[in-house]
Symmetry: C2
Subunit: 762 residues, 2 copies
């Protein structure tokens, strides 16, 4: 038994001792330095460059501009490739762009012998632009007459979809229905991983190697091939330890450009490391969404029909595009079951803001904020208990989704709510905080959430794994699913140990992915590592075990059917697991056998054609200082059903991190743009208010362990879910405390002050 234990993280020693190697630790001593020249307008066209001053700077090796790069538009989103064009991501970006689409767009690049020369030269490039007006919001960008950001996308709409279940117009004709409306807005926020985007590239034997801090090495290989117009096999991506990604590194950020930079200097190594400021304005962000909800409800709270209309701000380039808005609608459609009908109308729209891509939660934090704020508003309007109305409408046990064929096997919602409710003393506090007055008021609020594990059936889900038996009975495990700080390497270690019947310390996980060597897999996203990667580990461990037992049968002369591996030893399972020989002895005999020497390894691909619901809730308690417009978060508890916990401590850590992100999303973080120039005004860690440990109460992570039947280890998504419900729970707690429901996050003092004033509290 290794699964379920709190074994220490397998990378703990390296990381604590500072020995773990990250991309920048490995840079070739002789690497040249690349620097990107960013546009200083947000919308327009580069007319021409004057490079004369820049070229004079000592140490400059090469300067390229948007007029030099290949005329290839490529996709950047980190999705598995699809041979079906309808499932491919937008291809709307070149390595450097003449058509400038946001303030900070990439228009030229300098390669120099050091950081100083590269930076100086980048600054010394003179640019002439033709400027267009700046548009920062979808609704504005969709207006007639606004300049188009990308050809072929009228009204700057990247994609628009509608959907109707049942007949909405018929449904709302039912007598006695109450119509409740709300508009909910979420901000542009960023991942704020510790390690900025960094890569370095070189050529070997005519092929391009990029060492990069990425979540998705095999996908990056494909995108670099596409962006440069070269065979994918001519690209090699190596991913060392990375200092966080949270979805930003589930995108090809600068690997294609870096690959191109090394190519144009004949394969000399070139490093491309972004500053924090460049990461802010120039990488990816969470889509800001404006969501219009309209609900038709019976007085007892039963939802009869609802409509969901959303505008998702794509920013300047397609990246993950419409997928985020689409996943949001699944929250709307699946979390609660309308009795008769519901309809969806969603737009993903190009604007001149930062490019929106994948970020932990992938559209669900926005949608859950809207849906769960709205649910609270309905409960309040109908004077119903917020839990009662939720359980009246929530997805029932036994529900099967016709598209994903997901089944809601367990009463997870009720079990999670019961746990979290008890922890926060919900009933007691709902009562206690009923009639408050004065400047300081307390409240409790909650939110459910819905999440789907991994990406099937939208995209394929495959993961390959390779295992090797060593002469000491230890094994190496390699797969392309990536450790990005979340603990994936540790849980894979535990899974392999459990299935093989060996101590976890005998499992050596290969943390570095290298597309030349690592079996194919698509990487870290969609909370898929334990679920899909786990399926690969299980499949290959069983294959390896079979090979080991076959060799053991030869060695021990016992029938293979009677043998098993327990605690690293070959045992007779028919005779109380009597010990026969050690794996070490067997491995050495097999590898060096003069008659039948064999290197015991196993490799295979697991394709997962299931998905799994991963539900839960958050409960928050706040104290609001009304005159100051300040919220003090007193208590926050998340309760998750993510199936069986592989490593409870690491699971807790995941939840803590997600809760912290939810606090930032709900209370602190937002991109602020200059409306005239489109320049990001707070794109650094001083002005962008990331919450710190001082802004956090104790974060309580609780679990309900319902063994997920679609996974060999009984596990399902936990990576992203923790970040989903917090913002709505806090907003609803503020509503409970003050009677004011604020529909736009973050709940900053500015926002609260305005709202409280409008509500007459100040």
């Amino acid at each position: 038994m290794s699964v379920g234990e709190n074994i220490p993280r397998v990378d703990a020693w390296e990381k604590v001792a500072g020995r773990a190697k990250y991309t920048d630790d490995l840079v070739d001593r002789n690497a040249l330095i690349g620097k990107i020249r960013h546009s200083t307008i947000a919308n327009g066209i580069v007319k021409k460059f004057d490079l004369s001053e820049a070229e004079k700077i000592k140490g400059v090796v090469k300067i390229i501009t948007c007029f030099d790069v290949p005329d290839i538009c490529f996709p950047t989103a980190g999705h598995p490739w699809s041979t079906d064009p309808a499932h491919q991501d937008p291809t709307d970006r070149k390595l450097l762009n003449t058509r400038v689409r946001f303030y900070g767009d990439d228009i030229a690049a300098v390669i120099a012998v050091d950081e100083v020369a590269a930076s100086r030269a980048s600054r010394a490039i003179r640019v002439e632009y033709e400027e267009y007006p700046v548009v920062l919001s979808p609704e504005e960008s969709m207006k007639e007459g606004v300049p188009l950001l990308h050809e072929g996308f009228p009204n700057n709409i990247l994609k628009h979809t509608t959907l109707e279940d049942g007949n909405f117009e018929e449904a709302i004709k039912e007598e006695g229905l109450i119509k409740i409306e709300g508009v909910y807005e979420t901000p542009i926020v960023q991942h704020c991983h510790i390690e900025t985007a960094v890569s370095w590239a070189y050529m070997e034997s005519g092929r391009i190697v990029v060492v990069s801090s990425t979540q998705i090495p095999h996908i990056i290989r494909r995108i670099v091939g596409q962006a440069l117009g070269i065979p994918w096999g001519d690209v090699r991506i190596i991913k060392p330890y990375i200092g966080g990604g949270f979805g930003n590194k589930q995108d090809a950020l600068y690997e294609p450009l870096n690959a191109y930079l090394t190519k144009i200097v004949g394969g000399r190594p070139v490093k491309l490391e972004l500053s924090r400021e460049e990461v802010f304005f120039g990488t990816r962000v969470r889509h800001s969404e404006k969501i219009y909800l309209e609900s038709w409800v019976r007085p007892n709270g039963r939802l009869v029909a609802r409509s969901y209309k959303a505008y998702s701000n794509q920013g300047a380039y397609g990246s993950h595009g419409h997928g985020i808005a689409a996943k949001g609608t699944n929250v709307f459609r699946q979390l609660y079951r309308d009795e008769k009908a519901r309809k969806v109308d969603i737009y993903t729209v190009y604007t001149n803001t930062a490019v929106a891509g994948a970020m932990r939660g992938y559209g669900t934090p926005q949608a859950v904020f809207a849906v769960e704020s709205h649910m609270e508003d309905i409960a309040r309007k109908l004077n119903l208990d917020p839990l009662d109305i939720r359980f009246l409408n929530v997805m029932p046990v036994g529900f099967t989704d016709p598209f994903t064929r997901n089944v809601n096997y367990f009463d997870s919602f009720r079990q999670c709510v019961d746990k979290a409710k008890a922890y926060i003393k919900w009933d007691e506090k709902r009562e206690q905080y009923k009639n408050q007055s004065g400047p300081l008021r307390r409240g409790v609020g909650m939110s459910l959430f819905w999440y789907n594990t991994a990406v099937w059936p939208i995209s394929i889900e495959v993961s390959s794994c390779r295992m090797v038996l060593n002469q000491d009975g230890s094994i190496q495990v390699a797969l392309a699913e990536t450790e990005i700080g979340q603990g994936a390497d540790t849980v894979f270690t535990q899974m392999a140990a459990e299935t093989l019947g060996i101590p976890w310390r005998k499992v050596h996980i290969i943390s570095t992915q290298d597309t030349d060597l690592t079996p194919f897999g698509t990487g870290a996203y969609g909370s898929r590592q334990t679920y899909v990667g786990g399926a690969a580990v299980s499949k290959v461990a069983l294959l390896l075990k079979e090979k080991i037992l076959r060799a053991a049968a030869v060695y021990t002369r016992m029938p293979m059917e009677n043998l098993d591996i327990v605690d690293g030893g070959i045992v007779l399972k028919t005779h109380d697991n009597r010990f026969l020989t050690s794996l070490e002895e067997l491995a050495i005999d097999t590898l060096y056998h003069t008659e039948h020497a064999q290197h015991i390894t196993a490799e295979s691909t697991a394709q997962v054609k299931t998905n799994a619901y991963s539900f839960g809730c958050a409960f928050a308690e706040v104290e609001v200082d009304i005159p100051l417009g300040k919220i003090k978060l007193i208590n926050l508890v998340n309760c998750h059903d993510c199936g069986r916990l592989i490593n409870p401590k690491i699971a807790q850590g995941q939840v803590h991190g997600g809760m912290s992100m939810a606090i930032g999303f709900g209370m602190y973080e937002q991109f602020i743009y200059d409306p005239k120039t489109g320049k990001l005004l707070n794109g650094n860690l001083l002005d962008y208010k990331l919450p710190t440990i001082l802004d956090h109460p104790h974060l309580e992570a609780e679990f309900v362990e319902n063994w997920e039947p679609t996974n060999p280890y009984g596990t399902k998504a936990l990576g992203e879910p923790p970040t989903v419900p917090g913002a709505a729970a806090i907003r609803n707690a503020v509503l409970h405390a003050t009677g004011v429901g604020i529909n736009r996050i973050p709940l900053t003092p500015h926002a609260l002050f305005a709202e409280f004033k409008a509500a007459g509290l100040i």
Copy 2:
């Protein structure tokens, strides 16, 4: 067809552009520097150290001595492990040694922050010894009363074996036999690879990683585990490009010590790079041998019985030990067939010289020098043609060796001799140089040679390979057989391309071996790369092809039996190879298929239980300046039957390099020791006379291509054979020119002067 073509070396670009990464190019920026303190006596015991001065030097991190290291004796020879103790190598060495056995033995080590501090501290260590008399030759070392170098080895004999085929004493009773005797001596020489021994080591997650310039990464892993007494799986060896090895790096040189050094500083990286001088006195050398031959011959030249007695100088430690002398006796026993009997009596003896290990030829250059010089002496004594007497006695076509079950399938000797003879105009020159006088005289000489491919059945022969199909129809090939400059990566590329039916440019060979990732194989030695590695490439390519064709059958709906891969396309072999689809299209469909996604890879182990004779000859023409004692080598031609040539140009390169080594062995190189102190006097590239391009005539490499039936590509050994016959051919040419047969190489002016004087020529 890729095999047989002169494709450019796949590593040519990297090496020509200076981009290829060698061990030292990859050293961690923060690596500490290790320096070994060597003994300044050749025989004795370390009594004590005074480290006080050394420890005071700024930058010193740690000093360890022979009193600190684990009390573990380990083997260093790069052989596959054997579970049979009788087949294991001598275990007679510790990481640092209290019992000093040669001048320069490792007695302490310093770890410091830089080269200067490490060197200064190493010099500042004061040592007190107890000294014993120095013994430099086997016959001296075997004498009674000489101090024993290793416990348990009386008379310093590491191993002594005798062998008799037939009844020698009976055989020599035949009437009319002529007895001919000779004593032949070969020097201690060294490999002189360009890159010295270098490694660096660090720890990750409790395991030790050693990056090393080695021929045998998987074997080094095992030896490091043994030397430190830790599980073998806790060791990881990475082998980048290497600048030559020639057998010196078929030994664990300093990887075990380097692993220990990083361990005692808590896993901080430590680099251990040897100077050229340290390589000379402290790594490995070719065994010097003294061989006594006694032949009983009929007047027509037919060998009736022979005896072979040899003393092989092992130097201070066991390393490859008796295997070298033993392989030499195979030359004696197999090259010529005595009609009645032969006997062998060989000793491998410890002395206080440098440790003798593997060097290109592995005992055969010594034995061929003796046997072929002796054959020439017999011909001369009996007044027979040197070719006639050889063909009268040489191993006949159809001969089968009962031990190896090798078969001499072809008339290779005759074919090779015919080619070489024609090139050098043998008959014409034998005539022309018959009656010379004066100071300048010319002569021609020749030598046959015998060589066995790889090491079966002495040791196991296994090689594993893994191949991966990429989305562009290219493949990666990984195996543990190592590119050491010989061109292995290129021929593996050609083999894989041929078996798979794809262009060679679509094959990406993984040049770096990493024991965590690379399929098991034992590395570069015994001229086994193409023969054993090729078997693995063929086996795995066929497995991969089968998987590809199975997928192609699904994709094209054609029966698998009708399909083939030609030039990277799936074709209908039943219909003139009509093109159906590209491998690229098939690979993408298969990898991203929503129903049956599959990462097509193949991996397996090939065990080779055959061996193959790899024969040939060398012919030399010299001009001897008698008064000056100088030989001018005018012509040298080698002709080899190494089976089918995979890459004729690379094969030529191998032969040229080997011929150059033979010239050095025959004419220039030798270790010269101070007889009193045992100190090496010429251990540097200035005083050790390595021949240069100026000392070489045109080197003519010719081939006879008899398709070897035991190998899937029809190939057999070529790595070592070229270095084997040259010395005897030169010696015999000098004999032809001057009438003086010199039995001790190298044929330096000193030696020639003395011999010519004794012969009355001067």
